[in-house]
């Protein structure tokens, strides 16, 4: 048990970060599974983080309510901007959502209550391991159920062919909005969790770079299933830590691994069909 205590006191934050990144990867998986290339998740995470941190610092709400508020706030924002933005598709949607992210970042920069560019500090530690584990489990279970439901089938149909889906009587706009809002909700909760174990948040953590990072996690792991994004998030978070012994070459090797994965496993690391084929051929392929 002692080795576990040692391990936990050193690496608990890392484990927390893995969990939060898994939630984020799942949140973007939701929009991707509906054929939407939305890059607003970092901004949603930021809204969740700021709303929850401000509620904790100024209003003194209990942590569960704070978490819920951190999820609902970005979901409401998603609901409002979703209607106009989701009329776009492909690269145009990516551009519009990135622009939305910038709007959020600059708004936070110029407000007094958010501390402007200096951010918010002194956020009390409230997140515990089981909070993240439980919420992650809930997200997994919920999304797995969703996939097998009518809604999941509709997402799939929209992703494969939007016009065909429309012709089959699926209310495309409504389902897209649902994916967008749910994604915002999960990302917001992830942001709220993150804010309550890192003591400090600032606007630059929710800009362009994290938006792309979140997408990379999902794509690296593979967007064909729920395991893929979680795996990608785990790898992208742990790899830099595992490579710490390489000192100056750390970033280089980290980047090289990513390039190799993308080159040789274009559908992501977790691709059930390829893995099954691998075992059927007895490790030949």
């Amino acid at each position: 048990m002692e080795w576990f205590n040692d391990f936990w006191s050193t690496y608990s934050t890392l484990v927390f970060t893995v969990g939060v990144h898994m939630l984020l990867a799942l949140s973007i998986w939701l929009t991707l599974s509906c054929g939407l290339l939305s890059l607003a998740n970092a901004a949603f995470m930021g809204i969740g983080a700021y709303v929850s941190a401000l509620l904790t610092l100024n209003a003194g709400w209990a942590f569960p309510t704070v978490l819920l508020a951190g999820g609902i706030a970005p979901a409401l924002v998603a609901l409002v901007i979703g209607a106009p933005v989701l009329r776009l598709s492909g690269v145009y949607l990516a551009m519009a959502t990135l622009a939305f992210g910038e709007v959020v970042r600059i708004t936070v920069l110029n407000l007094d209550i958010t501390g402007g560019p200096e951010g918010l500090n002194g956020i009390p530690l409230a997140t515990e391991g089981w909070h993240i584990a439980l919420l992650l489990l809930l997200a997994f279970y919920g999304l797995a159920r969703l996939r097998r439901s009518k809604v999941g089938r509709a997402f799939e149909a929209i992703k494969e062919d939007e016009i065909a889906a429309r012709l089959m009587g699926i209310n495309v706009n409504r389902y897209k909005l649902l994916a967008f809002v749910l994604g915002g909700f999960i990302a917001g909760i992830a942001g709220a969790l993150n804010a309550h174990f890192t003591f400090f948040i600032s606007p630059r953590e929710y800009g362009f770079e994290p938006a792309v990072d979140i997408l990379t996690m999902a794509v690296l792991g593979g967007t064909g299933s729920l395991v893929g994004p979680a795996l990608g998030a785990g790898i992208l978070t742990l790899l830099p830590e595992l490579l710490r012994f390489l000192h100056d070459f750390r970033s280089l090797v980290n980047g090289a691994v990513l390039v190799l994965v993308v080159l040789f496993l274009p559908k992501g690391i977790w691709e059930p069909r390829r893995i099954r084929a691998f075992f059927r051929k007895g490790g030949q392929a």
């Binding site: 040692d6 920069l109 200096e118 951010g119 003591f199 606007p203 000192h247 750390r250």
Partner: protein, 386 residues
């Protein structure tokens, strides 16, 4: 013959074994700096400063016979990395204390971890307000803008007989924004009217709109809370538009490169800094020479503060009787640090207790006087007030 050789070998072996306990008595000190990423431009000179001081101390026999062993980790200027590295150093490497991290943001995130683990975290480059509010285990020898800027402004105002100033600053960067807040307060306190306050965002290259407005208000000096990248363009474009007023700069101006790029546009600028290359004190001369010899480049303010911080820690360690019980030793070091006063590369240094917002006992800030420079011929020249 053969016997003697065996005997010799055996003695050699035994002496190595015997020297092992001495190795174990090394004082492990963690260094957490941004060595890669955007903040590496600060983190690398800081690491060099620590390394230089530790090597010098060890070459002179260490502290009370114990060698200092640095455990250096990269925190990439990111808050999660800062926390991870702090935890690794505290719980796994079991260091006595930690220097760093580089950015104030990382300290806001990682500082509470060290404070909760009752381990000293000693920042050498964190200038943000509220850093030492984190708790009694947080120390810094970086001089805050609120200690530097009043002196800079007062000196410049006296020298140029300034009656009114214009202000320009970057409003989306933590560093330039907090610098502006201090400038604003200082200008109010010293009752200097501000003709106009202009802003820009990071990455801007054209400042003519703001500068034209500034020119129209006819200020006697331009106060600029800017990073070096933007400051060069601001000064060059100001001269292009015919603004003759001198500049008064914040900590971001502390870059010799800036005045190389801006050539004569920056002539006459006033800047305050906790360290001066030209400081004739022997400690500083030694430092500059040793740094140039070891790293082949000019040291900067960040390297100097790191170098001094190591000597501050060494001075405190001299008074600590290391018991081998890590928790007790960490506590003893925390109690010994505030009593230290040294003559370092940045001049005479001592700590003063931080004033926290909520009245709880806080950490320890630097109690130090800044140097005021005037730029002459594209170089920083120590202002003596002729």
């Amino acid at each position: 013959m053969k016997l003697t050789r065996t005997a010799l070998l055996l003695t050699a072996l035994f002496s190595t074994v015997a020297s092992l306990p001495v190795m174990a008595a090394d004082i492990k000190i963690g260094v957490t700096e941004a060595l890669t990423g955007g903040a590496a431009q600060y983190g690398v000179p800081i690491r060099n400063g620590f390394q230089l001081a530790a090597d010098e101390i060890n070459a002179k026999g260490g502290v009370n016979g114990n060698k200092i062993q640095l455990v250096i980790e990269d925190e990439q200027g990111k808050k999660e990395e800062g926390i991870n590295v702090f935890k690794k150093l505290i719980f796994q490497d079991k260091v006595l204390m930690i220097f760093g991290p580089t950015l104030s943001n990382s300290m806001f995130a990682a500082g509470p971890v060290a404070n909760a683990a009752k381990t000293v975290a000693f920042g050498t480059s964190n200038t943000a307000n509220g850093i030492t509010d984190i708790g009694p285990y947080i120390f810094r020898n970086s001089v805050m803008e609120s200690d530097v800027l009043p002196v800079t402004v007062a000196t410049a105002v006296k020298h140029y007989k300034v009656k009114q100033v214009a202000v320009i600053y970057g409003n989306d960067d933590a560093f330039t924004k907090s610098g502006y807040d201090v400038f604003k307060k200082v200008l109010e306190e010293q009752k200097i009217p501000v003709t106009t306050t202009e802003t820009y965002v990071k990455g801007d290259v054209d400042f003519k709109a703001q500068l034209t407005k500034i020119k129209g208000t006819n200020p006697d000096a331009v106060v600029c809370s800017c990073l070096a990248e933007e400051a060069a363009n601001i000064m060059l474009q100001a001269r292009g538009l015919g603004i003759k007023a001198p500049f008064i700069g914040g900590n971001g101006f502390n870059s010799p490169k800036l005045f190389e790029i801006s050539k004569l546009a920056g002539e006459g600028t006033f800047v305050g800094s906790p360290w001066s290359n030209a400081n004739p004190a022997p400690a500083n001369k030694n430092f500059v020479a040793a740094y140039q010899k070891k790293y082949g480049g000019e040291p900067n303010q960040f390297a100097a503060q790191a170098y001094d911080a190591m000597y501050v820690a060494a001075a405190a360690l001299k008074d600590v009787k290391l018991s081998g019980d890590l928790a007790a030793d960490r506590e003893a070091l925390k109690n010994a640090l505030p009593k230290v006063s040294i003559e370092g590369a940045t001049g005479p240094f001592k700590f003063r207790p931080a004033k926290t917002k909520d009245g709880k006992p806080g950490g320890w800030d630097a109690d130090q006087k800044p140097f005021i420079y005037q730029v002459q011929g594209g170089k920083f020249t120590l202002y003596t007030g002729k």
